[in-house]
Amino acid sequence: MPEKPPKSIKILSSLPLNLLLNGILIIPFIIMIYLAFVKWSPLMGVEWWNAPFNGLVNFQRALSDTRFIEALGRTALFVAIAVPLEFFIGLALAYLLQKPFKGKKYLVSLLIYPLMLPPVVVATVFYLFFQPYGPVNNIFLQYIIGPSALNIYWFLDKTLAFVTIIVADVWQWTPFMFLILYSGLSAVPKRLVEAAEVLGANEWTVFWRIRLPLIKPLILIAVILRSLEAFKIFDYVYVMTGGGPGTTTESISLYIYRLAILYSDISYAAAVSLIVLVLIFIISRLATKYLLEKR
């Protein structure tokens, strides 16, 4: 039996990687935590390491900042609507495409095509789609409700503007759900399905009792990954509505971007980012603990 290498070898061999990781991840993170507790902006004319200590003031400010709280709530609402929509549409498509038919290969390729586009491109396209004379009003809605469709101003109404963002997100990210669920459903052993069918189970029962339980871990992973990603929504809001009208479609990422880049309010942006990070960490930890680990 070969001897175990000494511990020092292990430490030394992983040292370069550790240094790299610490350099590019942990040190900036520590700086961010530091900045959240001081009062600093590049406009103050002092170096960040000389910034005055500010205690919990930035955090207290966040708790009384209605724009922050609204942006947080709005982003959560966005996740709560967009992710289930993407899941159900993705599941339906994945299920329907289980059966072989001519051209299926091409259809699957076509379905995952939106994933290849940069979100900013998708956002620009949807921004144009939803203009008063864009194809949504001019072709689709005009066909259904007549010429009055041309008077719909999607980006002037806070609810409609929010809907456009959801539509763009669903269009781009449903294929992600589809891809995972499609591969999961394809991997369900045929013998189990055939056995159930022999025992008289109908298609719905097979789906509900056999296919779905077997892909449950994949569903959970897909939903958690997608929710974390959707929470960071920025591109669609920035390009399509700019957070408007007013700030009624502003997402938390856009708000943090504005704090840090537009207002140079770096310390407060760091504090807000930290709060969001902690919230996401808690939620994702709870989700993995109760949904994945306790299975």
Binding site: S41, L43, K158, G242, P245, T247, T248, R258, S264
Partner: protein
Amino acid sequence: MDEEKSKRFDPSRRQFLITIGSTVVALGVGYALGYLTKPAEIVTKTITETTPPPISELSPVAQRAVQGIRKLIDDGVIPRGTTLRILHVSGSKAQLDKAIELWKKYVPDVNIELVTQGTEPDVYTKAMNEAVTKTGAYDIVTVFSTWLGDMVESGLAKDITSYFNKYDPGYVGTCAPIEPLGSYTTLYKGSRYALTLDSDVFTLTYRKDLLNNQNYKDEFKSIYGYDLKVPDTWEEVIDVAEFFTEKNLQSPRGGKVWGAYFYAEPAFAAYITWTNIFLEAGGILFDLNTMDPKIDSPEGRYAFDTLLKLKPYMPPEAVSASWADLYDKFIHGESVLTAAWPSLTKMAISSPDSVVKNATGTALMPGVKIEINGTPTLIRASPNPVNWVGIVSNYSRYPEAAYLFLQFMTAPDIGLEVVLSGVILDLYRECWFTDPNYRAKSVEGYGEEFVNAYMDALKYSYPDFIIRGGPEYTSKLTTAVNAVLAGTMDPETALSNIASDWDSITKKYGVDAQLAAWRSIAQLFPDTIKTAWRAKGYMP
């Protein structure tokens, strides 16, 4: 048979990897062998030394810049072949390229390199990064004058007063940048930190063909009781806008012709219109003694009332689309009264898509009539939102050389060529309007009517928020103005929120420092506005 065939064409993973690996190695070895056995290239260089043209053909301002840089080279202060780098936005590339082309004719030993950013916020972000990291990556940064406070306070902008006094960029006399613009875009707390590259003063741009139409004139008079003309006040703007909106005219491309289109959009421009009306009504942004926001005031409510009255006669996109939509609608004949940067007129008279090439009129921004010492007085003011200026980086290795390039590119002769070679930098020196030689060129680029109106507009122009945190103050205002016009917030709440937000920003940077900057910039507002402030007791 089929099985054999499929076996032949179904390599194992190992075989597949070996094949791919071998191919890559073979390609690499082949390329290396080819490279090593390549015969040495014989390079023949022909060096042509051209003698720079005599500098006597340049204006005195440009001459001083060229002489200055040559002396720095001769004295060994900067080595020959030095490269200066300019951080700028892509929209100004053509104009900076022109400046570099002219510079290289006279100063071939100092190279200029452009570091181009896609959008204005990118320039701000890079500049702020440089202020923190101090790498010396840029010698010159072209910034909005609105950002000047931020650039100075963050330590990026160098105080160029000594160079300014030593080389004299022509800020006094008949060819100086028109005041007050020349001062308020380049001074901060009384010191010189920039040279102006541009003017961004708004004018009222209108459909001449519609306003001069006799049938409309008669009809308008019968309804409103006075002549249809270019409006002098915002009240008249509302009347004219209502009149033409209700006509339900159609543009050549089939869109509705709206009576007015003034900025109310969410990204950054909504504050421009609101602030214009607010200041003309005699409003002052901050108290000159305490720095308390004075926005939640009768003048603030008047500005909102005016905008809300105008809203039904503006296209709904005024509240939702980007700033460029105003340009698109005007050149396609879909708005009658509008206001924007000088480039709107440039575009209206020169764009191949324009349907208003011969129908574009330019006038001063409408004003507000207020009582001054018992006499109704029309107060006019023209916004100068943003306005590009050039600053020298505090971390530049050769700040004097960088300054000299700025002086060269803004000299009366060179500067006009630069302005006329692109879009985003516009006329700012007085002689470009008055000296017949220069004026002829200006008229060629902008049209006679615009050149006439624009010179007056420059005199009525007022500074943007050139104090520390300027972009933050304007952004909060823009968001609130947009929210009120979109109907998601009422004016009273908006004014109260803006005042509270502004107060927080002021406190963040320190009341005393902000007050000093505000007092300094308030002195540079045009006399019309200062008269109103005095009448209302806002200014001693």
